[in-house]
């Protein structure tokens, strides 16, 4: 009975608390925190990222430790040649065995991987920077669009792999020649892709609003357009880096890649191909490593691209 009386007291008009209605109670949104959270919500990413980190560490640290060179110092020591994986010779444990020149396959592979990774990173960095900047202005300014579209139509008709191969024949093999070959025209595909994205968002209302407020074109590009492209850029990177590794392996395999004095996975695979029947491990282990590098880069890149798309943060 007392409880009912208490309730009855509540049947009076309450004072209005309307400003409470404007408050936002959710925690502040932070873009990068959401990216990280989204990335790690998928269990496979832990594995892929782990594999990638291991590969990176091995590629950059092992060559320093192992002192591998392409001079083939053990070429005359027949006992060291072609030892199968897991053998211990002379107190040294060869986890991947040795190749036909007596070098530790493990050391050779990581030295080659390092070259591939450095090449891929350098070429990507150049192509992406040039491509994104050019592409952003290309998409935004109608004047630039007229010129660049003509340029693009000419250049893109030459197959990339053909261009690189011919260039390398002329310039000769070598690390920096290969970088040049891949970056002279490599940026244009990226620029075109960015240009298309920019055209899509150029006429959205928030960009019109910025124009109404008198925002200059450079500021529009940096504050309005480029932040939208973060996800697109990460996606591109995730494809570009592994593709350069594949290019290097292929070019070195056909003999126009890196010169003989620099360790290279591609050349190794080419050399070891002749041993494929007798000593299969010598061929397949480098191939497997090359594949692992490419795949782990690709998986991490793709998932990072998905995570950096703000639309996925809503779910």
């Amino acid at each position: 009975m007392a409880e009912k009386k208490n309730k009855d007291d509540l049947f009076v008009l309450a004072d209005n608390r309307s400003s409470d209605a404007e408050k936002i109670y959710a925690p502040n949104y932070s873009y990068w925190r959401s990216v990280v959270r989204s990335f790690f919500s998928k269990k496979t990413n832990y594995v892929a990222l782990g594999v990638l980190i291991v590969i990176l560490l091995l590629s950059f640290i092992n060559p320093l430790v192992s002192g591998y060179t392409t001079d083939a110092p053990n070429i005359n020591n027949g006992d060291l040649h072609l030892l199968p994986p897991g053998t211990t010779f002379d107190g040294i444990f060869y986890i991947f065995g040795t190749d036909h020149q007596g070098d530790s396959l493990f050391a050779a592979i990581w030295a080659g991987a390092r070259t591939s990774l450095v090449l891929a990173l350098v070429a990507s960095a150049i192509n992406m920077s040039v491509g994104v900047v050019v592409g952003a202005f290309w998409g935004y300014s109608k004047a630039v669009d007229k010129i660049m579209t003509e340029v693009y139509n000419i250049i893109s008709n030459v197959p990339f792999i053909l261009f690189v191969t011919v260039f390398m024949y002329i310039a000769g093999s070598g690390f920096w020649q290969l970088v040049a070959a891949m970056t002279i025209t490599g940026w244009i595909g990226i620029a075109y892709f960015i240009r298309t994205q920019v055209i899509i968002i150029r006429d959205r209302e928030y960009n019109l609003a910025s124009r109404c407020l008198g925002t200059s074109i450079p500021r529009m590009v940096t504050r309005n357009i480029l932040p939208y492209l973060t996800s697109v850029i990460v996606t591109l990177l995730s494809r570009e880096i592994p593709s350069y590794i594949s290019y290097e392996v292929f070019l070195s395999y056909i003999g126009v890649g890196i010169d003989a004095s620099t360790p290279s996975l591609g050349r190794m695979i080419q050399m070891y191909a002749t041993w494929m029947d007798q000593k299969p491990y010598v061929f397949w282990i480098p191939v497997a490593v090359a594949a692992c590098v490419t795949i782990s880069l690709y998986v991490v890149g793709q998932n990072l691209a998905d995570s950096s798309d703000p639309k996925t943060h809503m779910i």
Partner: protein
């Protein structure tokens, strides 16, 4: 309705054509009207009628094919010197329709509201700028603590208010409001409209209100222009237009508005308009003032019919008064 009939914006014989390669689309045909200082002038039409195109031409986003736009005596269409372009941006601002896409999703509210201030360096110090932003936010009913948040954390009505804050902080004299409430919920629309009205009273603003919802337009406008397929077909004071619509398109537009009353809605008759009632092959139409302040697009034959209608109504009203 303000008493001083000072013309603040004038559109003279505007034509706007969109070209895509060889294809041409004639979006706006020969439109002319004046807007007086301190009034709310509404431009009403359906999608594709050209009303948004005209609004964007005033803020210099769209180019004119021919004709002129004059603001406070100075031409603001076509090529103008940079200094005058800046003046246009300072004095004429725009509020956009879609709260979901009119704000930069990847920028904080602080940057969004301050964007105009940054562009023209309209502040003395960082503190002054922050002060202006905070005042603008409070004047639209949002809390100062919101400026560090991102647009997607807000509701539609709140985002639209951020858009208004962005325009207001520039202290303009003239605002083009492009369907500012169409994308909002019914109960939120009132908030935004009241806000706009409040600013008009406090700061002496003039509005060009672009809309397709006639019931709202009747409430807030002083004068209304009806636009159909790029041509203005009728222009009058709002009560005059609602009580005596002459052009058949205006008629069909009004009969189409659903009335929020079940009994009236069930009795309502629907008018359709497809343009076939006009025969403009020989007798060419023009823009005439059929009554003081009431303009219409008609040819000679139609003018006579409208004049007769006006006479009939005048007599009918006089008889009604007598009773």
């Amino acid at each position: 309705m303000p008493n001083n009939k000072e013309v603040v914006l004038s559109l003279k014989n505007i034509n706007i054509v969109f070209k895509q390669g060889k294809k041409k689309f004639h979006a706006v045909h020969d439109c002319s009207f004046d807007i007086y200082k301190g009034e709310t002038f509404s431009l009403v039409g359906e999608s594709g009628s050209g009303k948004t195109t005209i609004g964007r031409a005033i803020v210099r986003i769209n180019q004119l094919e021919s004709g002129e736009i004059i603001y406070k005596g100075k031409k603001i269409s076509g090529q103008i010197p940079k200094e005058e372009d800046r003046q246009v941006i300072r004095n004429i601002q725009m509020i956009f329709q879609d709260p979901a896409s009119s704000l930069n999703e990847r920028a904080t509210v602080d940057y969004i509201v301050s964007e105009g201030l940054y562009n023209f360096h309209l502040y003395k110090s960082e503190e002054d700028r922050l002060n202006k932003v905070t005042k603008a936010m409070e004047s639209v009913g949002l809390l100062p603590e919101h400026i560090t948040r991102y647009p997607h954390e807000f509701s539609g009505g709140q985002r639209q208010r951020i858009g208004i804050a962005r325009s207001i902080v520039m202290e303009p004299e003239f605002i083009v409001a492009d369907e500012p409430i169409s994308a909002l919920d019914v109960s939120i629309r009132a908030q935004v409209l009241n806000l706009l009205k409040q600013f008009q009273v406090e700061r002496g603003l003039t509005y060009l209100f672009i809309a397709h919802d006639l019931s709202v337009v009747r409430f807030i406008s002083d004068r209304i222009a009806v636009i159909h397929k790029g041509r203005i077909v009728e222009l009058a004071e709002s009560e005059e237009l609602f009580n005596f619509p002459l052009h058949p398109y205006t008629h069909s537009l009004m009969s189409a508005i659903p009335i929020p009353d079940p009994i009236l809605e069930k009795k309502k008759k629907l008018f359709t308009y497809d343009g076939s009632e006009h025969d403009y092959s020989v007798d060419k139409p023009s823009w005439v003032e059929i009554k003081p302040g009431h303009f219409i697009f008609a040819n000679e034959k139609e003018k006579e019919i409208y004049k007769k209608k006006i006479q009939e109504r005048k007599i009918h009203n006089e008889e009604f008064e007598k009773k």
